[in-house]
Symmetry: C2
Amino acid sequence: MNQKEAQELADLLKALGEYNRLSLVYELCQCKAPKNAMCLCDCCSVDASGVSRHLKVLSQEGVVKSERKGREIQYSLNRTEVAKRLRQLADIIETTP
Amino acid sequence: MNQKEAQELADLLKALGEYNRLSLVYELCQCKAPKNAMCLCDCCSVDASGVSRHLKVLSQEGVVKSERKGREIQYSLNRTEVAKRLRQLADIIETTP
DNA sequence: ACTATATTTGCATATTTGTGCAAATATATC
DNA sequence: GATATATTTGCACAAATATGCAAATATAGT
């Protein structure tokens, strides 16, 4: 694992490692259909601008993807991608040299 | 997942989501035998006090365990425990409701 | 064009966090 | 007890971060 990869992984973990952002992720976990930001406001104790910023972080780290549908922007999880990266780390940690 | 569990998971991810701490974890990954803090100083660009603080965070979150051996304190990873928690999150994220 | 709704952004601010240095503590050896 | 080595802690500080509010922007419907 080189420095760039380590930094990217650290950034992913940092994105997930904030309580309100993790709450957003959980909320999206439980949705079959994508949700817009207004809807996601209800599940965490920050206002719309805060949710917007959190979603931006999650988006930059590839945790969520977004698609504009008219006035709304619908967010959904990159489920397999994120799960894959977490399992890769789990594998690294678990493997004794 | 209740609030307390979510907070604990966020804390774990936050602990892992800092570059120098993740570097320490990688270093310990590659060790068959435990290492002391002085030795771990070499793999990350912080001084002994910084490494001590990082190891304290990792220890509080259950990422590493420590055992004093004379003057030194030897650190090693809680491999299976950490891997398990990461995989649990991966499973939650990947499972469509 | 006007209005309503959804999202982003600029600004200010309080809090957290990572860091180094020096001092304190712990343990071993002489 | 004195000295050496390993680790922790108090202090100060700079940088990052999360947050709310108000204004700006985007889009849709009338």
